[in-house]
Amino acid sequence: MLRCAGLGAGALAFDAIQVSQQALAGNVGYDSEHPLSARSAHFPGVRSIIWIVLNGGASHLDTWDYKPELQKRDGQMLRDADPRVGFFKTSGKLLASPFRFARHGQSGTWSSEILPFTSRHVDDMAFVHSCYSLSNNHSPALFEMNTGLSRMGFPCVGSWLAYGLGTENANLPGFVVMSDARGRGLPKNHAQNWGSGFLPSVFQATRVKETGAPIDDLLRPETITAVRQRRLLEAANQLNRRHRQRFADQSQLDARIKSLELAFRMQMAAPDVLAVDNEPAHIQSLYGMEHPTAKFFGRQCLIARKLVESGVRFVQIYSGGTGNQASWDGHLNIDKNHRQFALETDQGIGALLEDLKQRGLFEQTLVVCGGEFGRTSDSQGTGTGRDHNPNAFTWWFAGGGIKGGVHVGATDEFGYKAVENPHHIHDLHATILHLAGFDHEQLTYRFNGRDFRLTDVQGEVIRELLA
């Protein structure tokens, strides 16, 4: 201990608490020399996860949460409307959904007419209608959705999983993100959404870009042939191995030698996985790649399928860009906005579910769809838009470990607030980790003196969703 006479008494007090054991690196097999090596989860779980983010805050009321009372009472005042719910001030007048609803599948799931392709799969999808978050503001809400906390500086779900699982295919990153397919910019918060926070930066997402070289520095420049690069690498390898002999017990140097080899293989393998042109015509057609509007997001869904097929652990796709009207943020006109964004995404999502099933990947892949919050039952602005509503929204889950056709929780008769079995984002995260094979209370990382986890000090697995 640091006891030493003549120093401030306070210093002595601080000494007295220096009693801990060597800090644990965490409870997964993380190793900084092989940060991406494949690791086992706590128990068996899905191999991969695809999370489709309806960026901007999709309306539950116009998609999956059918509210007959809302439809009946269009224009009437919403009792107990809270002016603090939205970002702007809402009118307090109920706004019926402009869309027709119908029941689908054996589960009789209600869905909106703007989702014809996805609606075919309702019996394989599980819905949480009682989601809520704490922030009604895009930026903090996106952080909350991604990291569990509305503040900055914490790792997102994909980073936690990459930390926990490593990557199964060393030629590909473990965590991939794709942003708006139509070039309308990154979501609010930009790349900060998929940062790894205090986890090593190797666990942040690799962005696969919509246009140009899909991954930075992935491709060998055209001016240099593979043979030339191979020769260069061979020479470096030989010199590195000689250097290594002088430091026989320094395994970090080995890791670095291996990383050069891996990089060389990666640039050969990865472009194939990211290319969709060589997919058969019927697959391209399934994903809507002949459709002038659906083809952009459809292509990303197809890439997502190829990525998880190749062993990528976590793929996150953002539908919608930066500006309000460039995303699901339908402040002005919910009809126009959501019709547009549903048209862009519905076919691709339906195709993804279909394709995963026909390839036998459905059981080992979890598909999640949801955004940072829902929207208000009352209108705003010109009377045709909806404001942010963190008190009620719907997420759905499909694939490995999920019981199909299930509806968990409920909102009130107008869909204004989650009232039955409300589930905060922490619960959604706990469930995702569970499905990936992790006890969310045990997947931890020590940073600045504290063992952090994705679910902070909360989170409960939503058991009703589980098969």
Partner: protein, 527 residues
């Protein structure tokens, strides 16, 4: 690179020269910027630029080069605007407090929460960066491991009750500046911010005071609290009032600055211990306490407690100047230790034939020097340097363009657009204070070294430097390449390898040879 073997006097002279080099402040300043979570943008939705935040970076570099006493360095960063309002650098120093993220698009629902998040950033960063004290863990409940109560958290936080970030003009002898620094809210109120919607009128505000929040929840706010310091860091016979005398209406952070630097009764000795450990950490790759941001019970115990304490005592005794401590460390026998294999360190190979029987496999006792990977900035600076482009211009606004040939410490830190090359090699994201970077080894790093235009361009430049104007395949070319990139001449074997690579005798093969040198472990690791 191995240091030249010479006399101790030569060594001491080299140390003095390097400590006096302006590059010293750039290198060590970057370490402090990690601790200060320094960046030049707001973060959050739009990640607005802080166009004038670079002056704080310059303050850090200048101060370290001038060997400003560390207690003063700390006082200015906490309260320079209050202590020396007429000294521009003292005001700029408070850029430390406001370097964290700030959301300027708030809602009526979340603006109070956001204010408490900001206060938590001030408090947590101050505690962790300066004292290795994870006080932020007591925001919602008493600290689970260290003796800090939730009450004490809020008392500490009250030191910043009216502290806000401000971009403002400042008249100085060097001309009119615009600075980004801390200030006290003029009307003692905290107002909701919503920069994206200038049409919003009658924004709500609340008094700039700190209330005790049950479970950290702003909707469950209790009494207003006044500034105070954790009792376990206050001497037993000491009244906290001593740090509050003659405040003359100035905020609690002035008292905080006094307490935290007071080695007799305040937290000064802990402050000293934490900073000398940071120096040790960067010199050896591992601190005497290996968790430099956590000296509490969850952190690691010091490997050499008396040494740590002695260094801290020396620092205080010598007027808080850091350079003498650097000198002590650098001229020590421990620092000058070379690399040796486990067995070589033992007297009898026969007894300790197995590595696992070595008494100190992990080198906790520092019986040898192990190779270390350079950190991100040094890797980039080296690339610029070997290609002969390094621009030594100091200070001033930075740039987001990584191709600019200035040292990396002058690249702009924009939170949503971090420089990929630096990020890949584990530079921090500037969101929370970082005492120890991770050191990862990944394929994307290797892809960058192989394919990135900046690296390829560096290889071209190296070639041009070595063989200006003509394509030659000479022994001298190979020797010079090794000397330039890895600081030594090649062995005969290595020479043969290089000769084979250069066999085509083309500019391309020369370029590839140079590029190959940049891909060597020796280029990334120092011995």
């Amino acid at each position: 690179m191995r240091h030249a073997v010479g006399s101790l006097a030569d060594w001491n002279q080299t140390v003095d020269r390097l400590l006096g080099d302006p590059r010293f402040g750039e290198r060590w300043g970057r370490h402090w910027l990690d601790v200060a979570r320094f960046a030049e943008s707001d973060g959050f939705e739009m990640d607005y630029d802080r166009k004038h935040a670079w002056r704080y970076r310059d303050f850090v570099i200048r101060s370290l080069n001038q060997d400003m006493p560390f207690d003063q360095f700390v006082r200015l960063q906490l309260a320079g605007d209050q202590l020396k309002p007429d000294d521009p650098w003292a005001v700029v120093a408070t850029g430390f407090l406001v370097a964290g993220v700030e959301n300027r698009i708030q809602t009526r629902k979340d603006f109070v929460q956001q204010r408490y998040d900001k206060l938590d950033d001030f408090t947590s960063t101050t505690g962790t960066a300066l004292l290795g004290l994870t006080i932020g863990c007591a925001r919602c409940h008493d600290h689970k491991y260290d003796p800090i109560s939730q009450d004490e958290y809020y008392s500490f936080t009250a030191a910043f009750a009216a502290t806000v970030s401000a971009t403002r003009p400042l008249k100085t002898s060097a001309g009119d500046w615009t600075i980004y620094a801390a200030a006290e809210s003029a009307d003692k109120r905290i107002m909701m911010q919503v920069t994206a919607e200038p049409s919003f009128k009658n924004l709500p505000s609340f008094p700039a005071s700190v209330r005790f929040l049950v479970r950290g929840d702003p909707d469950d706010a209790r009494d207003v609290v006044s500034t105070g310091f954790p009792s376990f860091l206050v001497g037993t016979d000491v009244q906290q009032t001593r740090w509050f005398s003659k405040l003359d209406g100035r905020p609690g952070r002035v008292a905080l600055a006094r307490w935290i630097t007071d080695p007799r009764g305040g937290a000064g000795h802990v402050l000293a211990r934490v900073i000398v450990n940071r120096l040790w950490h960067h010199h050896f790759g591992r601190g005497l306490v290996t968790t430099p941001n956590d000296f509490g019970s969850r952190g690691d115990r010091p490997t050499h407690p008396q040494l740590l304490d002695w260094l801290a005592t020396e620092l205080i005794r010598d007027g808080w100047r850091l350079k003498p401590i650097h000198r002590l460390i650098l001229t020590s026998a421990t620092y000058r230790m070379g690399y040796q294999l486990h067995r070589a360190s033992l007297r009898d190979d026969a007894i300790h034939a197995e590595d696992s029987e070595h008494p100190d496999l992990t080198n906790r006792l520092l019986w040898r020097r192990e190779p270390r990977r350079l950190d991100a900035e040094a890797i980039r600076d080296n690339l610029v340097s070997v290609s002969g482009r390094l621009n030594h211009a100091m200070f001033g606004p930075g740039t987001l363009d990584q191709n600019v040939a200035r040292r990396s410490v002058y690249l702009r830190v924009k939170r949503s657009k971090l420089i990929p090359l630096l990020q890949l090699f584990d530079s921090p994201d500037s969101l929370q204070t970082i005492g120890r970077r991770s050191t990862t080894t990944t394929a994307p790093q290797a892809l960058m070294m192989l394919n990135n235009p900046f690296v390829r361009d560096s290889a071209d430049q190296v070639r041009r430097r070595l063989a200006p104007g003509k394509a030659e395949r000479s022994a001298a070319f190979i020797d010079q390449g090794f000397l330039l990139c890895v600081g030594r001449v090649p062995s005969r074997d290595e020479h043969q390898l290089a000769t084979a690579l250069l066999a085509p005798g083309t500019p391309e093969s020369q370029r590839d040879f140079c590029h190959m040198l940049l891909c060597l472990n020796e280029f990334l690791y120092v011995e």
